[in-house]
Symmetry: C2
Subunit: 452 residues, 2 copies
């Protein structure tokens, strides 16, 4: 991202646009929701150069300008998936409805040990990237192994990503000797740091119980040394709390704070079982949380104090988790579930409004990943990560409230066009960069090996 | 339905099929899930005449036979929406994230009073029927007002429906004088009883608190007199329990039992706040319940003892409720939410499996509506209510487990073909009976009046 510093608005070049999106209702999210009727968005060099409201067709200033027809559409910032393990599409539907320990230790970990290699991770990540594009995600934060392959998949599909090498003090796919986990992570970062403005590498500590104090501290040091965020699973299960209590006499957030990990560069996913002190600590230290409601529900991990954290002023992004525990990477469904789940568990229909859910999936996500100067809203000077949602379908009609429609009625399949960094990755639901059919064919072939 | 009695299997005519669906993985749901690879389903006169497993293309016995290509698809029974108010698509997104009383008394009821008339209900129901077809629902149970129009919409779109006239002891849309509610209901039934084998009329008592004892008893008598089920909202809010306790000293299920309403002809939606005695009573009396998880969550009404009722052997169907409290009519999303919500609230990832969710949306729904001899499974002799789900999409790949894929990864937009009573209503995602565009145009025009 270092090559695309936030731009002084006065310096935006007055070049003709290479892409125009026009005709629909835009939710810029610059305010909540920042609604612009009959929007016309100008893009040049991957950057949003102007946003207008106009009812007449624009006279094209350049015959080569590409135009996205967004009449009968909602235009909004691309959604940001702040927590996933993209290549786990490999195991979608392999194991469901099982006790957590059976699921993890008898099904998922063995499948990972046996089947993960550069090729399977590449195809799993490629399929996951395509799924995210097809459902309106333009940026994702990923933590897994063999991550060179996830970088490759993100690059080839055109997605923006914060892609982190997994760090765990156990033998791991591609890193059989845990003593090498940090050096391998550091090499991964160095390899990809200057590769592409759309790819940011990083580290992903598996959890406070599977990483030692030393590993946690060193991971944060390496991340900070490169001005990169560190990802972690935090407070996902009741067992984790007990293990950290037994080990340190502290609850997980206090334990991480004592190690110096609680700071604005930490992205903590799940964060379900927090007491009041931990919530205060997370707010004071500026830690970013990622809410992962569907995975939390499916694994019965907990529901999390999301509304209470939002009211405290904690920044929260939204994530799908991997396809094994969801089982899709659709952030539209995740927004819907987040809003409904909060109402159900708090017995309050005003909890977590549609607007708050959409904010988490855009503005909140951008801030969580440290990319708030580049993405998350539609504003002059930001990178052009933009999606359109097709309203010409019975379930999205009538349009009394665009935010409500997006959160409570739309799903990923309603996304029509997807633009990342000014490049059109999907137009009228057709991928422009890659053909998904051979990828799916390859995946089906690999699936036969995984579950004969 | 009286013209299509369940057929003696030996009497199925050996006529050439007028429709063949072939090539995909079929989940017949005759067993759970009753998987048939390379299925070929023969349909004649609206009835399933044979189901085979065959890898070679079938030699057509009749050049006029229509063939649905279901390679790369899952073939399954059409889903059954056991509780909705279809015409409420009119108010989709009009009011969300509000306290229940504000939502109902200040927004929805006034909107209904002001805007419901035969024309708005017709277009609202037409749009809702199209939405249900487009998301794989082939049969729905509806309770509302101006129901002649919902019958008209179901008939024109080709859906199967149990369509009930609302009965409430308050002035209601189209029935300003509550003294006429039962006579109007009876007339409605008589008007439509012999109209079409796909339409079954009925009554829908609004709730135990908005209907008097006399109204409840008479509604059941009228329904039983025509061998029709009676629909009701039961135990949706804590306030309802208290009101019935105050009035009768009993909880709602006991109260209804004392009035003679608890029997296999009762379809009770929501059923959230049941104590052990009520659950036993519901099982003993053979009452059918409808689980409506997304609406219950969005309105923070409660979560309901669904798994416990299933374990007791109570039959449960699945419903979406109206588009005001969901805000879509997509049963695929509802299955996903039902399975995940049960796990979350019971802290048990084995609660309500994908298979149980799919069973509720098919077999359970058919039994709830008293249509188990006609629909709910793919079996020789049943009516041909069948859908296909297109697997050639990244989020439905790979296919380790078809049931898991349908429940946890698919949504309504993935439905490719929809057949009701042997008639193809949607083919390759195109409606065959009606053009949705003028319906949506009309709805958008009416929406401007509703929320200027």
């Amino acid at each position: 991202m270092e090559s695309t510093d936030p731009v002084d608005m006065d310096e935006i070049p007055a070049t003709p646009p290479d892409l125009i999106i026009e005709g629909g209702v835009a939710l810029t999210m610059a305010q909540d929701p920042g609604l612009i009727e009959h929007a016309r968005i100008f893009i040049s060099g991957g950057q949003i150069t102007d946003i207008q409201s106009a009812q007449t067709p624009s006279p094209l200033s350049n015959p080569e300008t590409e135009v996205i027809d967004a009449r009968d559409s909602i235009i909004l910032p691309g959604l940001i998936n702040c927590h996933t393990h993209t290549a786990m599409t490999l195991f979608r539907g392999l194991a469901d409805d099982l006790p957590l320990k059976t699921w993890l230790f008898e099904r998922i970990f063995p499948a990972e040990r046996e089947f993960l290699d550069p090729e399977t991770v590449y195809y799993g990540a490629l399929l996951g990237c395509m799924e995210m594009i097809a459902s309106g995600t333009t940026c994702f934060a990923d933590g897994y192994f063999f991550q060179d392959e996830t970088v490759r998949a993100a690059h080839e599909t055109g997605l923006r990503g914060l892609i982190a090498q997994g760090v765990i003090d156990l033998p791991a796919p591609g890193v059989p000797d845990p003593a090498e986990n940090l050096s391998r992570g550091r090499e991964f970062i160095e390899r990809w740091l200057h590769f592409s403005p759309r790819i940011r590498p990083g580290l992903f500590c598996h959890s406070p119980i599977t990483c030692s104090e030393e590993t946690l501290i060193r991971s944060m040091e390496i991340s900070q040394g490169h001005h990169l965020p560190l990802q972690i699973h935090l407070s996902e299960t009741a067992e984790e709390i007990q293990a950290i209590l037994n080990k340190s006499g502290m609850r997980p957030a206090q334990y991480l704070d004592q190690l110096g990990l609680l700071n604005p560069g930490l992205i903590a996913a799940h964060a379900l079982h927090l007491d009041e002190k931990e919530m205060d600590l997370i707010r004071e230290r500026g830690v970013n949380l990622v809410h992962v409601p569907e995975s939390n529900m499916k694994l019965a991990s907990g529901t999390g104090p999301v509304s209470r954290m939002l009211r405290r002023g904690v920044n929260i992004g939204l994530g799908t988790d991997g396809a094994c525990s969801n089982n899709d990477l659709d952030l539209f469904c995740e927004m819907d579930t987040a809003a409904k789940l909060a109402k159900a568990v708090e017995h309050d229909p005003t909890s977590l409004s549609a607007g708050e859910a959409l904010h988490m999936a855009t503005v909140g996500g951008a801030s969580a990943l440290g990319l708030q100067d580049y993405i998350g809203t539609l504003e002059r000077g930001k990178r052009a990560d933009i999606i359109t949602v097709d309203l010409t379908q019975p379930h999205l009609c009538p349009l009394h409230n665009p935010v409500s429609t997006l959160v409570y009625a739309a799903n990923g399949g309603d996304v029509k066009d997807v633009i990342v960094d000014g490049i059109v990755l999907m137009k009228n639901r057709k991928f422009t960069m890659l053909d998904p059919d051979p990828v799916m064919a390859k995946m089906r072939e690999m699936a036969k090996r995984i579950a004969p």
